[in-house]
Amino acid sequence: MKKKVRPAVIRTGIRIPLILWAIAVLYPIIWMFIGSLKSNAEIYSNPWGLPESFNFQNFIDAWTNYNIDTSVFNSVIVTVMGMFLTLVLALPTAYAIERIKFKGSGILFTVYISAMMIPMVLGWIPLFFLLMDFNLLDNLFGLAVVYAISQLPFTIFVLTSFMGTIPKELEESASMDGLSPYGILLRIITPLSTTAIITVSIMNAIQFWNEYFMALIFLQSRTNYTLGLAIDFISSEAQYTNAWGTLFASLTIAIIPVIILYAIFQKRIAKGMTEGAIKG
């Protein structure tokens, strides 16, 4: 009898912190959605409660008066370009490192992987001048290139470990059939790696969509602002204009694509990130 009561008590006892933490995570996010539907006056009078009525004026304001439309467009451009570039650069390298025997392949892999642990903030100063020399400063393509290279080590890491699981026989028989190594890479390896390519691309896309600091350094004009910069700008302006509703609306716009991706690919994202951490 005693044995049965105790675990039940412990179980409820342990549930309490779990529930509290779940509230701590969800409440600010839900509150942000609610805030985006409130008028500024209501945010002041009743900051943490439910809205009296739903109005989408904040979204319209953010979209038209605060140039969020341009920033969304810029963020999409940078994210898509960055994602594509990362793949184009990482796929051949990952294949060569994983499947072709050559001197120094181990060293090359180590160089890429150790770049994942190095604080890049030192490199950002010379990179700033480098981009200036290349005429890529304050340029969305320049930022996409910088993003792509920054995610290269992680992408190579994920792709090599996945390609290791593809059976070698497939390449051998393709080569017997007269397919060149270029053909094997393009027609055999790339399609077979689709799972890994999707996982790594989603994670890169989220990374680029969310990125703030490199954009802060390498972009300057407001027409080039990505979402993070635009929101930060609205946030610092809101200290004076009190346009909190607009700020919440733009935060909501920034987070919705991430929530959608997470809803669809939750397992892959979680798995990809934990595996990325384990190599560390």
């Binding site: 600010p28 060569a96 951490a277």
Partner: protein, 297 residues
Amino acid sequence: MVQSKKQKYVFLAFCLVPTFILFSIFTLYPLFSGLYFSFFEWSGSSSNREFIGLSNYERLFQDKIFPRTILHDYFLVVTKVIGIMILAIFFAVALTQLKIKEAPFYRVVFFFPNIMSVVVIGILWTFIYNPSLGLVNSGLEFMGLGEWARPWLGDENWALPSLVLPSIWAGIGLFMLLLIGGISNVSKSYYEAAEIDGANEWQQFWKVTLPLIWPQIKISILYIVITTLNGSFIIVQIMTGGGPNNSTHVMGSYLYQQAFVQYNFGYGATIGVVILILSLITVLILQFLMKREKVQY
């Protein structure tokens, strides 16, 4: 594969060279070049770049703010490691050992902040700490602890500790999942054996679970330390900008201010070199300290 040596090398070059050249230009070159810049006094225009040897490094020692930024960095490292590890271990054990039906819900929810933008996290938490509207102060007043209410991010003593909670909030899910992975690899027979020996749940946790997930704990700690030293300045920049009165500046945000706000690029690079050296040393020391052998039963 039937192909000549030459063909093989051409293919290898096709695969490796373009990527490596870009990687060298955008990652390797800037790092070395940053080291080189640290020996110059330089405000950005190419004409007035002056070699000054180690003067920037000497200046670091006279700088009244810089030593504080190092302390702030390590304050965040220590508090984050302790906070995240205690909570992540607790949640991981709770979700695996207690067979709760809604466990997947918690996993999905707790992990989500890991993929949120730091901008969103920073702005949300700035609101939570807002002196008049914020959740923290309203909550304290609600509980009758009104005298505890303060402008958290505007208070020199409280601003830095206030940054710890958002960082833990944002980071915990990943490490919880990492530890869950470790725990589910522990064979059930160990727990059965421990139970036969009369060990209670608490003893089982200390003697079985903890030693067996030590590799995951080690990785988590290392990862928290690295990401904090390399990236804590982002949340600082968004939530406080290093203020009030430099009380929250960490090395990275101070570098940003020196280089990109005040245009002391040489001095900024010097700070960057110190960040690089300190984080490498910290990781090496940690790896040495945690070199506890894998437990095998």
